[in-house]
């Protein structure tokens, strides 16, 4: 990427950010609509308080001092302004979270161009009118008009529009790579596609509404937390409402404005303001990892996952087996075998073939260049089950044991008696044996082995520390599976797995109360994906799989599950931490506001005609004067919201240190921290406010 491009990218990003911020600020005013606010009981109470204080102020200014008690108008005004700001800050938090998704939605929407689909019978139809069951033909260079399954043909498709990945992917009929998404582009060849969507319900439509938050519903845990916050709010409404008669009994009159300020300071506004932003941001963090959660419920559930089912191939092991050992037959030198094995694989571009060439190098065999030798490549066919080269009259072959034996016998040779033993041993250990022959002689066997991806052991340790058990699912026999399981450090395995066995395993685990997550791509994975609590479908998979899962990974990366679980946990931790913080904050607010509003309660003469309430000793922060104290508490209460927006969008970091240590850590930071921080914050604000008032 050139410098100018980089520069341009940054500029457009900052321009977009600017637009996003403006939009968010506008939204936070629009969201003041009480019909929006009523969905959030905590902030709704604040808004009612804002209206009352504003009306009080207006009456003070225009209609005499009937309301507001002894409060000066500027005091009522200041409180009213900060209460409005509290609501606006809360709205801004939500708007910011939504804005990040909206930018993504805008990009997606631009792809939803109006195309004309060519039907199989040659007629044409607007893409937006396609319904389930229509069959369309898409040629190279054309946009795929809707979601569907390839029923004929093979082609490379550019899916960068939805995945961001620029390299085209192969889509073909049958198999596990048959799903195509509307809006992506066929780059080569031609596909016949059966449409699987109804108009307006395409994958793209769903994605847009998801990232925009339009389809967002409150998740179960969010609802539960909201209820808890409403209950706390109710308690404080009672506490503050009864304070009026109490203080009258004590001969003190506290203005409505001060009581409302106290109420707003006490109710859990911090978490109330940020709760929905946290939820939206959780979805958004997944989107950034190219995972689309089809419901917020799934994101929450992913934090709870106890058991992770991982497909062996592609997840735990590198998709292909690699040559790890050469076993010569008696009378054959290792180097000779290496030389022949290398020659047999020179033209073999499969990963297995490349790995044989690499292994041969370790035996000191120099790499031949195919072009420099006079050789004829014999490709692998399903009939011969062998590949190799014909070189200077020699026939060099490698392939499955029985196929090579048949070849050698056809050439008039006889397989050495040790061969069968070696082949069987390798198979038993889970490897793939490839016999190597030159004309009528079998020289030896190449041991192809499953190679475990680097760092898997660490990943499984990480998962174990998170409290998640991993189960490897493989079609291999028990022995092979056991060996790979042991080497990779996975907790358990399911061998000789069929889709039915996989489904049964999920049901069994769920029956024991575990939450199960899995990834899958094939149509036969669909039942298991649907059954799992968190089912992540690979975008490269079939349409059936994509519809069965509750998440789609656009990168088709099976190890993504680990990140998904972390995002789910982060989401929940952030909620808990900010709730704790919010409640712990109240203690300091009491010590700021109560001595202020009780300044004259049951006052006692303290010499020289001055009298004060014995409760003044509770002003442990030494706040300047009562009005400054109330204002400072309310200001703190308001500005803590924007200060915590970045944290709620980013999420509190999850550390796999065990639940006990994590709880201690978060209690210390957000509980004890929440207890102390406002004492400092309110004092600092008071220094400013009191200074301003004094001036």
């Amino acid at each position: 990427m050139s410098d100018s491009q980089t520069h341009h990218g940054q500029e457009s990003a900052s321009l977009m950010q600017g637009a996003m911020i403006r939009r968010a600020l506008l939204d936070s005013i629009i969201k003041l609509d009480p019909r929006v606010q009523i969905r959030n009981p905590v902030m709704f109470v604040v808004e009612i308080g804002s209206v009352i204080t504003t009306v009080t102020w207006l009456i003070q200014v225009f209609g005499g001092k009937a309301l507001g008690g002894n409060d000066p108008a500027w005091y009522t005004f200041t409180i009213a302004i900060w209460l409005w700001l509290t609501v606006i800050f809360a709205n801004a938090a939500e708007a910011f979270a939504e804005g990040r998704g909206r930018a993504q939605a805008a990009t997606l929407r631009s792809m939803r161009k109006e195309t004309v689909a060519v039907m199989q019978d040659g007629s044409s139809k607007a893409a937006s009118e396609l319904t389930r069951g229509d069959v369309v033909v898409v040629a190279a260079g054309e946009l795929i008009p809707g979601d569907g399954t390839v029923i004929e043909g093979i082609a490379s498709v550019d899916e960068s529009a939805i995945t961001g990945e620029s390299a085209p992917v192969i889509r073909e009929s049958g198999g596990d790579r048959s799903a195509v998404t509307g809006g992506t582009k066929v780059v080569s060849d031609r596909l016949v596609i059966e449409i699987t969507q109804e108009p307006g319900h395409s994958f793209l439509d769903r994605m847009i509404s998801l990232v925009e938050g339009a389809a967002r519903r409150k998740t179960p845990n969010e609802i539960a937390l909201n209820i808890l916050l409403a209950a706390l709010t109710l308690i404080f409404v009672i506490v503050v409402a009864t304070l009026r008669p109490f203080s009258l009994f004590a001969g003190a009159s506290i203005s409505d404005t001060s009581l409302i300020a106290l109420l707003v300071a006490l109710i859990p506004t911090t978490i109330g303001a940020l709760l929905s932003a946290i939820g939206i941001a959780g979805m958004d963090r997944l989107v950034r990892r190219n995972v689309l959660a089809l419901s917020g419920r799934a994101v929450e559930a992913s934090g709870d996952v106890d058991v992770l089912l991982l497909d062996k191939t592609g997840t735990i092991t590198i998709g292909n087996r690699l040559a790890s050992e050469l076993i010569p037959m008696p009378g054959v030198a290792e180097t000779e075998l290496a030389e022949v094995a290398q020659l047999s694989s020179l033209a073999d571009e499969t990963p297995e073939g490349r790995s044989i060439v690499v292994l041969a190098k370790q035996y000191g065999i120099r790499e031949h260049e195919m072009a420099h030798i006079n050789a004829h490549f014999v490709p692998f066919t399903a009939q011969t089950r062998m590949s190799g080269i014909d070189l200077d009259g020699q026939q060099i072959r490698k392939g499955a044991g029985d196929a090579v034996i048949a070849f050698v016998e056809g050439e008039g040779g006889a397989p050495p008696p040790q061969l069968r033993e070696v082949v069987e041993r390798i198979a038993r250990e889970g490897g793939t044996p490839l016999a190597v022959a030159r004309d009528s002689q079998i020289l030896g066997v190449i041991y192809l082995k499953d190679t475990i991806k680097e760092g898997m052991k660490a990943r499984f340790d990480h998962l174990r520390a998170m409290g998640i058990r991993t189960v490897m699912v493989t079609g291999d026999n028990r022995l092979t599976a056991a060996k790979i399981a042991e080497e990779s450090g996975v907790d358990d395995f399911l061998a000789e797995a069929t889709p039915e066995a996989k489904l049964a395993l999920i049901r069994e685990q769920q029956g024991e109360g575990y939450m199960v997550a899995m990834t899958g791509d094939g149509t036969n994975d669909a039942p298991a994906l649907a059954q799992a609590d968190v089912g992540v479908a690979m975008n490269s998979g079939t349409q059936a799989a994509r519809e069965a899962g509750n998440m789609v990974d656009l990168d088709s990366n099976p190890t993504k599950l680990i990140e998904i679980v972390e995002v789910g946990k982060q989401l929940l931790i952030t909620r808990g931490a900010l709730t704790t913080f919010s409640i712990a904050n109240d203690v300091a607010k009491y010590f700021a506001i109560l001595p202020a509003i009780f300044a004259t309660v049951w006052a006692v003469r303290v010499g020289s005609g001055r009298s004060e309430s014995p409760l003044h000793v509770l002003n442990i922060m030494g706040l300047g004067d009562p009005r400054s104290a109330v204002i400072s508490a309310i200001v703190f209460n308001a500005i803590v919201i924007p200060l915590l927006i970045p944290l709620s969008l980013k999420g509190v970091r999850y550390r796999p240190i065990g639940a006990g240590a994590l709880l201690r850590r978060n209690m210390l930071i957000y509980g004890l921290g929440g207890l102390i921080a406002p004492f400092i914050g309110i004092k600092l604000i008071d220094l400013v406010v009191h200074g301003l008032l004094g001036a």
Binding site: I227, A241, T242, A584, W602, A659
Partner: protein
């Protein structure tokens, strides 16, 4: 402060724990329907009772059916008690009304009946000038038993809901209440009464004695079946004294030993229930963790009260009096305390009866120092979770445990689960409302009583218009809302010119508001607790893993105490400021 004082407190805590642990396991066996050593003796009377009251005790009840039975039973009990108390003279033929007392006025009776039904035992009347022996025995004592039983069965039902693996059954109300009475309350009461009688607690039907004092005055000395009521008064955390001076009266609580014994009686079932919870849930460690949290808060309260009282009152210091311990005297603030109990025995008793819903007193709380007097306020503010009333304490703290698990559970990154059960909106809603009721009732009633002249009429003349008047009022409704029944004194709902109720009249406002306060704050949380049990009963249980938040370790104990203290403090702090705290901060007399 003396070594003996601290030793008394420490030994008490140890003895209590040593008794409560086996009792808790015994109770678990009783409620799980297992055979216990008393089964051979009690199974016949048990089945006899089922036959007489014609209930199918094997019928499994869901929470609604359980609650229905409980409400029907309570309603019948309320009507019966009201009838007995209002027709006191009708029962003179039994010979159990030697002083020929008339019934108390209707409004006071409404308050008294609601009070005994709700395990509160708030008393606007004095036992020895109002109640016949018949009313005490057939009326009040019966409810002392049954209200205690109701508390326990609700706790048991909640534990069954927490444990339940399938279905919605919480057990059978009738079986639970009969077993509670027969297997738990009765045996301990029999032993307890014998011990008390052996120490000089009276138990007779004699007429009142008239004594001629050395100064030539005459004095009437009340008699009655005291020991039998005294034991259930403590054991059932009822607290309604036979005599007005309650456990300070020598016929109720003659010496230091009975004082210690009565304190054990008060706490033994609430403490045992926590261990029972551990046993029934199969999570002994969690039972111990909750017990630890409760015990810590309890000992904290005792320490504050003891230190404050041993330090002496501001008046003593102002007068330059020596308040330290000297030979023959423990020193400290002895005003309103009995010499035979001393400071530690009074402070401990005071804390025990205010953390539970007992409300018995052996010293005058209004004579405590500012800080010492704030302790019972603080205890009441914790809404019966520090041991609490029999049963009430367990189901109240379990609602707090539920909230603590919810908040803590989030912080470890899982949707919260408690003993493997996911906590969702329904449980949070019910537990939140259950916790809300007591503060709501206390604050609302205090507001009504302080804001109206009808309410202010109950405040004692000397305290009117000052913080003491506020404290009296607040304590009265806080105590009634907590179903505690201990009184700060001064606040009254009955004007009784002479013993026997001739010419007496109640103060309707205080009587009715208090009565409704008690009933509401008793039955609403019970219904919420049962509903929580119902909601939890059918839930799937997930196994515990590394990522699950543990609820049986010190971290959780800290979290639980934090939630209880913060919620309690935030709720009641403003009101406490206007009463006891403002008084405690100044030597000024209002």
């Amino acid at each position: 402060m003396t070594l003996l004082g601290w030793a008394t407190i420490a030994i008490f805590a140890l003895v209590l724990t040593a008794l409560a642990y086996p009792l808790g396991r015994y109770m678990a066996r009783v409620y799980q329907g297992e055979r216990v050593f008393l089964t051979p003796i009690l199974q016949w009377p048990e089945s006899f009772i089922y036959r007489v009251i014609r209930v199918d005790h094997k019928q499994q009840q869901d929470w609604k059916a359980y609650a229905r039975s409980l409400i029907v039973f309570s309603l019948a009990g309320w009507l019966l008690l009201y009838f007995i108390l209002r027709t006191q003279t009708l029962w003179n033929f039994t010979g159990l009304n030697p002083e020929h007392f008339h019934s108390a006025p209707w409004n006071v009776t409404f308050n008294t009946v609601s009070s005994f039904l709700s395990n509160t035992n708030w008393q606007y009347y004095s036992g020895e000038t109002t109640m016949s022996y018949f009313s005490q025995m057939a009326g009040l004592t019966v409810q002392n038993w049954l209200s205690a039983g109701i508390g326990v069965v609700v706790a048991v039902a909640l534990v069954r809901g927490i444990v339940g693996r399938s279905g919605r059954s919480l057990g059978n109300f009738w079986q639970d209440i009969v077993r509670t009475t027969l297997y738990i309350l009765a045996p301990i009461s029999v032993i307890g009464a014998i011990v008390l009688i052996s120490q000089g607690v009276i138990d007779n039907f004699a007429s009142y004695l008239t004594a001629h004092t050395v100064t030539g005055l005459t004095q009437t000395i009340g008699m009655g079946p005291v020991a039998s009521q005294e034991v259930i008064k403590e054991l059932g955390t009822n607290g309604g004294g036979f005599f007005n001076t309650n456990s300070a009266h020598p016929f109720e609580n003659p010496d230091g030993f009975t004082n210690f014994f009565e304190m054990l009686l008060v706490l033994v079932i609430p403490a045992a229930l926590i261990f029972m919870y551990g046993k029934m849930t199969g999570n002994r460690r969690q039972g111990i963790a909750i017990y630890g949290a409760v015990m810590l808060m309890f000992l904290g309260a005792v320490a504050v009260a003891y230190i404050a009282e041993a330090h002496g009152s501001p008046a003593q210091h102002a007068a330059g009096l020596h308040t330290g311990a000297i030979a023959g005297s423990g020193g400290g603030n002895m005003e309103g305390k009995e010499q035979r109990f001393g400071i530690a025995g009074s402070a401990l008793f005071d804390v025990i009866t205010t953390v539970t819903s007992c409300g018995a007193v052996n010293s005058a709380i209004e004579s405590y120092t500012g800080i010492g007097g704030a302790v019972p306020f603080a205890n009441l503010s914790a809404s019966e979770v520090i041991f609490g009333g029999v049963g009430t304490g367990l189901y109240s703290i379990l609602l707090y445990v539920l909230l603590a698990v919810f908040i803590g559970g989030l912080m470890v990154g899982r949707t919260p689960e408690w003993l493997g059960k996911k906590l969702e909106a329904r449980e949070i809603k019910l537990a939140g409302l259950g916790i809300l009721i007591t503060p709501l009732a206390a604050l609302f009633c205090t507001a009504m009583a302080t804001a109206t002249s009808a309410g202010r009429a109950s405040i004692s003349k000397v305290a009117a218009g000052g913080p003491q008047g506020f404290s009296e009022t607040f304590y009265a409704y806080l105590s009634q809302a907590n179903n505690n029944g201990s009184a700060f004194a001064g606040y009254t709902g009955l004007v009784q010119p002479a013993a026997g109720n001739l010419g007496s009249h109640g103060i309707s406002f205080a009587d009715l508001l208090g009565g409704v306060d008690m009933l509401f704050a008793r039955y609403a949380p019970i219904l919420f607790a049962l509903a929580v049990a119902g909601a939890l009963a059918g839930k799937k249980v997930s196994p515990v893993g590394l990522g699950t938040m543990r609820t049986d370790n010190p971290t959780f104990v800290v979290l639980l105490i934090g939630v209880i203290v913060i919620v309690g403090a935030l709720t009641f702090f403003p009101a406490l400021l206007l009463g006891p705290i403002v008084q405690g901060l100044t030597g000024h007399l209002y």
